[in-house]
């Protein structure tokens, strides 16, 4: 057993007491020092004291009563969070690699067709207190509610509408519905936007859809070809018509002018003829023969040697045979 009354021992006890006090002070100081924390410019911190919400601290150096009395939860408030639905980015790349999640992306439309939509939801935390204390699994909430909202909207549209004009409309309607849900849950989340990445008929029927598009183009092509044909033949026909009419007009003028010419010549002859009928006739006759006869092989038969041949000639080939 030790001797407690030893003065050395008393000294030792005193030393321990002093040391104890000092160490308590040091430990306390160290403990309080651990309460220093920084808040980045892009975040907000919520401080709980004994579990109770006490304040939201601003960016910079801050201090809180360290655990177990206090607790700090930091949340990034400027960051835009993103949920992918219908696909997952495996590798942001480039080139980006995606994995298809068809159970999420295939959905029924209001006219009982199936459409495949991949979309993303971007959201921000607009109320840190609500975000932290009102909902347990916030990501899952956004993810579930977004799907429910989009499918409700798609269920109220026709396939045709979704594939053609409705994309922006569907985005904004879905965003409204989703925001309403998140407000019902009082989640402190605000949707920045909803983006339909890929809106397509399911790949099982994609070819049929592509064929419709090419059929539309075919239709336009047929019509253009026909118009081309029309534009080709009609001007030609009109030109042809013009040509015919011009030829006719030319013919008409030619006939008339020629007739007038012939008549003018005849009348002049006629005038001379009046002066001396027999003489003129004979002259004209002989002049013509002079012009014509040199070119003709002639056989002259004396009338006196009539052998009947001339009969034939005279009578224009009519023989005596009855």
């Amino acid at each position: 057993m030790a001797d407690f009354n030893n003065p050395n021992f008393k000294k030792f006890i005193n030393f321990v007491k002093k040391l104890g006090f000092l160490s308590i002070v040091i430990v306390l100081a160290l403990y309080l020092l651990t309460g220093i924390y920084t808040v980045g410019p892009d975040e907000k911190a919520v401080v709980l004291t004994f579990g109770k919400y006490t304040k939201e601290s601003n960016p910079g150096l801050n201090w809180y009563f360290p655990a177990p009395i206090g607790k700090v939860i930091k949340v990034k408030t400027t960051k835009v969070y993103r949920e992918e639905i219908g696909f997952r980015t495996i590798d942001p790349g480039p080139p980006a690699k995606y994995q298809d999640k068809r159970t999420e992306s295939l959905m029924l439309t209001g006219d009982e067709n199936i459409v495949e939509i991949d979309f993303t939801v971007q959201y921000k935390i607009n109320n840190v207190k609500k975000f932290l204390f009102n909902v347990k699994n916030q990501r899952k909430l956004v993810y579930d509610a977004a799907q429910a909202s989009l499918r409700t909207v798609v269920g109220n549209s026709t396939l045709e509408n979704i594939l053609t004009i409705g994309k922006g409309e569907i985005q904004s309607q879905t965003q409204k519905k989703l925001q309403k849900l998140l407000d019902v849950y009082d989640s402190g989340i605000s949707i920045v936007n909803i983006q339909l990445q890929d809106v397509q008929p399911p790949k099982e029927v994609l070819n049929a859809f592509k064929d419709v598009a090419s059929a539309r183009e075919d239709k336009v092509r047929y019509i253009n070809e026909a118009n081309g044909y029309r534009n080709d033949i009609l001007p030609k026909a009109r030109g042809e018509a013009e040509k015919l009419i011009n030829e006719a007009l030319a013919y008409k003028e030619k006939r008339i002018k020629e007739a007038e010419g012939d008549v003018a010549r005849f009348l002049q002859l006629y005038e001379k003829y009046q002066l001396g009928k027999e003489v003129t006739k004979t002259r004209l006759y002989l002049e013509t023969l002079e012009k014509v006869m040199p070119n003709v092989d002639k056989t002259i038969i004396d009338k006196n040697l009539d052998s009947g041949l001339l009969n034939i000639i005279d009578k224009g080939g009519i023989t005596n045979e009855k």
Binding site: A248, Y251, D314
Partner: protein, 286 residues
């Protein structure tokens, strides 16, 4: 000796003080259980709380909105179609004491929610056709299910905020049918477009052909008319002049014809009688 006892007392005091204090944070609510029985009201505010040391136990529950995500289930609609419904529910522990006494734990709660929401879902969906569920009545249906389920779940201290169909889709084998129908519809459309194109094309082309024929025929008619005018005008001119002396005209015209007939160098052979005008002079001088 004294100092030891003193030390002991201090330690016990510290333990007692510490075990009489507990924290409830913003995300939770608590119930005090004294020797197996709950005491007082559930604690729903946050901060530093006190209890009887040692004999009081604190049971904490989440105060936030919790989620329940069901497995997809096949449900039959009013028009006897199978529908795979994947629903979720958002709920809260409204009355922790009731909750503790009835379902006791989260797992128990999930089971209850599953039972109740699913049976509501099955009932309500059986009253509507597929297309109503997918489009027109979708939100209505969810409201009915939420309302009816929340009444039943209130007994377990659970507040159902809402139950929703996350997905309502056809089973795989029915999907095939839809694809086939979609394909058939598209093929029809494609045919229709092409046929329409051909229709318009034929209309345009045949119309153009018709117009061409008409244009040319009209032109022919007009040109024949014009030619006829020319002919008749010419004849009139001739007639007017020649009628002055038919005899002389015949004579002159005959001479012209001679010129035309024999004028060219050709192999005409002419047999002439000496009786002709040409040789009359000859014979007279005999």
């Amino acid at each position: 000796m004294k100092s030891r006892i003193f030390l002991g007392v201090i330690i016990i005091a510290i333990v007692v003080v510490f075990s009489s204090m507990f924290q409830v944070n913003e995300m939770e609510q608590a119930i005090l259980i004294r020797l197996g029985k709950p005491v007082g009201k559930p604690i729903e505010t946050s901060g530093l709380k006190f209890k009887m040391p040692i004999i009081d136990q604190v049971v904490k529950f989440d105060k936030r909105i919790l989620e329940y995500d069901s497995e997809p289930k096949e449900i039959i609609t009013k028009d006897k179609k199978n529908l795979v419904v994947d629903s979720y529910a958002k709920w809260k522990i409204k009355d922790p004491l009731k909750f503790l006494q009835t379902v006791n734990s989260y797992v128990g709660a999930q089971t209850r929610i599953d039972d109740i929401v699913y049976s509501e879902l099955r009932q309500v969906i059986g009253k509507y056709t597929l297309i109503e569920i997918i489009s027109t009545e979708r939100e209505n249906i969810m409201e009915i299910i939420t309302k009816d389920s929340s009444v039943k779940l209130a007994e377990f201290g659970i507040e159902l905020i809402d139950a929703r169909m996350k997905r309502a889709e056809l089973p795989k084998q029915n999907e095939e049918n839809i694809y086939r129908r979609m394909e058939a519809e598209r093929n029809e459309q494609a045919k229709k477009y092409r046929a329409e194109g051909q229709e318009i094309s034929l209309q345009v082309k045949s119309n153009a052909d018709k117009e061409k024929t008409i244009i040319l025929a009209e032109a022919y008619k007009t040109s024949q008319n014009i030619k006829g005018e020319g002919d008749s005008k010419a004849l009139q001119i001739y007639a007017e002049a020649y009628n002055k002396d038919k005899e002389f005209y015949r004579f002159v015209r005959t001479l012209e014809a001679y010129e035309k007939i024999f004028g060219e160098k050709n192999n005409n052979r002419m047999i002439l009688s000496t009786e002709t005008e040409l040789f009359r002079v000859l014979s007279e001088t005999k």
